[in-house]
């Protein structure tokens, strides 16, 4: 955590979860567990979000919505799949309307297990996401700098 210089914002979307993980995501953000002490903040606006928390599996109806939310987020971005349904489809894997986990539609970086995922596990996933976001931002900055120098030459 020592190299963290940024405060990424979180976007949360409920894929087709049973609500258990959504409520735990909210519980992790409230002061008892307080994920905000790691510098993250919950936002409802995908255009200003850096970390995408997705709960629940993907179905035919919400696939387009999930894809759209992911595309609306500015680069660099990190995706965290919270709960076993978002990881693999979970108990609903065999249902006719479930296509699978979140990685069937968007690239997922961090998988948080659990049914429902506990707030401690979600915080662990968020902290890993913050570190990954820092790394990607650094790479992004280096790339921008390189391009700028290339143009100047």
């Amino acid at each position: 955590m020592a190299n963290i210089k940024r405060s990424p914002w979180l976007l949360h979307y409920d894929g087709s979860s049973c609500n258990g993980c959504d409520i735990e995501v909210l519980a992790a953000l409230t002061p008892v567990y307080d994920a905000e002490r790691f510098g993250v903040m919950n936002t409802g606006d995908p255009m200003q979000a850096d970390i995408f928390l997705i709960t629940g599996g993907i179905n035919a109806q919400n696939q387009a919505t999930v894809k759209q939310l992911y595309d609306q987020m500015p680069r660099p971005k990190v995706v965290v799949a919270v709960g076993v349904c978002a990881c693999t489809g979970g108990i609903f894997k065999d249902c006719y309307n479930i296509l699978g986990g979140a990685d069937t539609t968007i690239p997922v970086d961090i998988y948080v297990p659990g049914c429902a995922a506990r707030p401690q596990a979600i915080i662990d996933g968020v902290v890993q996401a913050v570190e990954l976001f820092q790394q990607r931002s650094d790479e992004h900055d280096a790339l921008v700098k390189q391009n700028k120098e290339g143009r100047e030459k």
């Binding site: 409920d14 258990g20 409520i23 002061p31 008892v32 409802g44 919505t65 609903f92 065999d94 479930i98």
Partner: protein, 360 residues
């Protein structure tokens, strides 16, 4: 007369923890009509009866919804128990009642927090959720999990609550009650809160009845309906009077749910004193379910139905669940007519929508 336009609300919206989409037909700032479209959370849970046997379905039924998960499992188990025609031990009935009421307490506290967030009181939201954590701690202490605790089985329950744990539960619900009395001052007395809630989204008794609303939405409109009076689990052995308000506005719905937390505290205390000591936790169930049953119970959000049909095979033929939010959605569309656009988020929250139940 302004020009009519359509504004989409959802599926991803800051006020909603869950996706629901409403097409709001507005004229200037006034909502003329609201057209809901659903299906974002549909999984096809009921179809799993082909792949999981009737015992395993208990755990699938619980995952209909993460907030009232215990009550979904209980509704399914009671329906199958009625098909088998078995009587579960009295202690198991009381244990189910205690867990169901703890579930109701955490659901209502969660809702009070979401409501506070919807009218812009972030601090109050955090306070309500802080109190809710105490209820979750009790659930974790007795079952080992926080939200989906899988302690039901066909024929009874899996775990017991020890005498020490009962004493802790008794102490903690008293604490929760005292802390909520403090917050009650803000929810029911504060003038800013009142100006956001009083007289907004009125649903009359006739409308609530005609549209088939249930649970706190119907009770806030003056209909005294509470399925717990049917006497499933141990409710026939407890004293229970439905919390009813007559105004039918957002304030009445807030008041109803707040007082229902106190009612749950009272029911838990009654259950602890009336519970029989040492007893078996479950009766053995032999064979496969053959027959059908229609179970009704009162969830935090209202009345839910469970229809189970089996034909002597380990895999049941049909499981059908009707959830309270589905019954309350027509009421919501009625409430939204002629309201300000800025009140839409608040009104959607006041029916306590549980979309994952509704779409399963």
């Amino acid at each position: 007369m302004g020009k009519r336009s359509v504004i989409p609300f959802g599926p991803q919206h800051p006020v909603l923890p869950e996706p629901i989409h409403l097409d709001l037909v507005i004229e200037d700032e006034r909502v003329i009509e609201a057209i809901p479209s659903v299906g974002f959370v549909h999984r096809g849970l009921e179809s799993l009866v082909d792949k999981r046997d009737f015992n395993q379905m208990t755990y699938v039924a619980e995952r209909t919804c993460g907030i009232c998960s215990f009550q979904h499992g209980m509704g399914y188990c009671e329906a199958v128990e009625h098909i088998f025609d078995v009587d579960i031990p009295i202690r198991a009935k009381f244990l189910r009642t205690i867990w169901a009421e703890l579930g109701r307490m955490h659901s209502h506290l969660l809702w009070l927090g979401l409501l506070a967030d919807a009218f812009g009181y972030e601090n109050l939201f955090y306070q309500a959720w802080r109190i809710r954590e105490k209820v979750l701690d009790m659930i974790e202490m007795t079952t080992g999990a926080r939200l989906i605790f899988s302690v039901n089985k066909v024929g009874g329950v899996i775990k017991d609550i020890t005498a020490d744990q009962l004493r802790i539960i008794d102490g903690t619900v008293t604490e929760v009650e005292a802390e909520l009395r403090d917050l009650e001052q803000v929810f029911l007395e504060d003038s800013t809160v009142k100006s956001r809630l009083v007289g907004i989204g009125i649903l009359t008794k006739e409308q609530a009845h005609d549209l088939g609303c249930c649970g706190p939405v119907a009770r806030a409109s003056g209909i005294s309906c509470d399925m717990r009076r049917l006497g499933y689990a141990a409710y026939s052995m407890l004293d229970l009077e439905p919390v009813v308000a007559t105004e039918g506005d957002c304030f009445a719905r807030c008041k109803c749910r707040l007082y229902e937390v106190y009612q749950s505290v009272d029911l838990i205390r009654q259950a602890i004193t009336k519970m029989p000591k040492e007893q078996e936790l479950a009766v053995p169930v032999k064979g496969n379910p053959n027959g059908e049953y229609f179970m009704r119970l009162e969830q935090p959000r209202g009345e839910a139905y469970y229809y189970v049909k089996g034909s002597g095979k380990p895999f049941i033929d049909r499981l059908r669940i009707r959830t309270p939010t589905f019954a309350n959605l027509p009421g919501l569309c009625e409430m939204l007519k002629n309201t300000e656009l800025s009140d839409v988020g608040l009104l959607v929250v006041t029916i306590d929508p549980c979309i994952s139940c509704t779409e399963r």
